[in-house]
Amino acid sequence: MREKLRQMKDMVDIEVVLDEQYIDPKVTILTKENTAQVENIIAAIENVSRSDYPMIATDTDNRVEFISQRDIVRVYVDGRRVVLQTEDASFSIKKPLIAVECDLNTDRFLRISQSEIINLYKVKCFDFNTAGTIGVEFDCGVKTWASRSRVRQIKELFRKNKERGHG
């Protein structure tokens, strides 16, 4: 159901439409030409978006790179390192896993064991084998396992997302 919430007339015409299909807000800018004002509006929206879900700073080979949370597949502990994995690459993070967990969007990310946090939206499927472990396969083909003690938290995240999806 689409519902036009409000329309504001000032320098910029702003229209907010409530549509339950859009779990994350989608911004469409309608303009005659791409001006500096349009660029400023885009920058302002991106700044607000980043402050809600900050980019994660990684430090690999003394090179700092900021990764968008949408691109993160999982963050896990590998020996003494904390590794952030996207679909294409892996990066090192200097913070402990518990500190990274505080920065991550709790609607998308979930801790599945003592040493791993996953992006639920990057998961292809779960499976359970005769060995009794819960397997997690990601869209990019990477596989890991979830602790049985985290089943309740997984259910809770699904329930939370279901409620958000239905307004």
Partner: protein, 141 residues
């Protein structure tokens, strides 16, 4: 990975198991002894030892990297070995039909628990995949 938390849990559960084991042993032995003789005390301590191992090794189910099958097997084997060793040496059981029936029932209990856990987890994972499909269908942008 066996963490410090798991080790502490094992110690606490072992102590609780030891006390519970002694109480259960006391209940079985009380009518068969004349006062607190050496055999009564030995039975008590051996009962406590069985409880200690049985309850202490239950932390196998808390080790994240161990699946249900491994945890169940480790717990079963450790309990069976300790129990049989003590039961036979203390003359609680003899190598006869009674012991065989007891072991069959004992094993069956573990199998039933494993099967129930397996079926529950299988159903839960199926639900997860259904929810995941719905989540991805609704995701936009």
């Amino acid at each position: 990975m066996i963490t410090k938390e798991i080790k502490n849990k094992a110690i606490i559960r072992a102590l609780i198991g030891f006390i519970l084991g002694m109480f259960i042993s006391m209940a079985f032995c009380f009518n068969n002894h004349d006062g607190f003789d050496a055999r009564f005390v030995t039975n008590l301590l051996m009962g406590g030892l069985v409880g200690l191992i049985n309850n202490g090794t239950s932390v196998a189910y808390n080790i994240e990297s161990w699946g249900t099958t491994k945890a169940t097997f480790i717990h079963y084997i450790s309990t069976v070995i300790v129990f049989l060793t003590i039961a036979l040496s203390m003359d609680w059981f003899r190598m006869d039909m009674t012991l065989a029936i007891f072991m069959v029932i004992f094993t069956l209990v573990y199998v039933i628990i494993w099967v129930c856990e397996y079926m529950y987890m299988k159903k839960t994972v199926k639900e997860f995949n259904r929810e995941l499909d719905e989540l991805k269908k609704n995701e936009k942008g």
